[in-house]
Symmetry: C2
Subunit: 165 residues, 2 copies
Amino acid sequence: MPETSPIRPTDDEARALARELISKARFGALGVLEPQTDMPMVSRISVSTTAQGIPLSLISDLSHHTQALKADARCSLLVGEPGSKGDPLTHPRITLQCEARFITRTDDTFATLRARYLSSHPKAQLYIDFADFNFVELRPGVAHLNGGFGKAFTLTPSDLGLAMD
Amino acid sequence: MPETSPIRPTDDEARALARELISKARFGALGVLEPQTDMPMVSRISVSTTAQGIPLSLISDLSHHTQALKADARCSLLVGEPGSKGDPLTHPRITLQCEARFITRTDDTFATLRARYLSSHPKAQLYIDFADFNFVELRPGVAHLNGGFGKAFTLTPSDLGLAMD
């Protein structure tokens, strides 16, 4: 970043906004590395959270992003959707730098996640039991919060209320 | 992709949907490579188009994504925003694999782009003349269109109506 870095010191208001953006997200934009080219590739995924508050998605083996995450678990998740009015750049959003961890249908925790996920995404009932769908936790490292112009913060998992093991 | 690849043969309906998603986009999710780590990083940017239909954004030198694009021009743009109702995964969207090309304030075409951009993003009047803001064309290569479940297509710049030089 240039010397005129606009990053502000993290405060409780920033932490609260970041947690709200994550807990309220229903979908987001996932960035992965395309296996053959190592180019970034962005696609839309559903977003929920685990009981611990870790972002969670339900993704299909048939998707480009699933194949990419299996080759390289490093990814990025953008959540915080603007409404249809006003300047979208003034709406708060957060970028999480993440590591993907798959929870497959044979894992002990799958049933618990299934029930939790359906409570936030009831329409997923239509495909949640398809064999090619599995859960993936998107475990955050550093996070970049943008609360609108001049309101940029760099947050840690601890700021997000997450104790990553 | 697995042998059961869900990619359909490209048809005129897919081409028309792709062009509509790009021409109507007001913002999108940009994926870049973080310079120090080569991790993907996704952030929100404004989106307009050039007169030729190439996606265009106005970005600040103070942003992570601008610094990243100056180090590596390869990027990805997701456009096609769902509304607030229904399953976001059934809403059409398109992922463009792009190369970024900056148009700075001293370029001959800046004034033309400035006028065009303000017609689609009038609120940018507040910051478009700040010295740290420049335009960037996101020049598409391959594109991945997802028109909803079971409606995946792989498109070329020609399918998008773009003749890339």
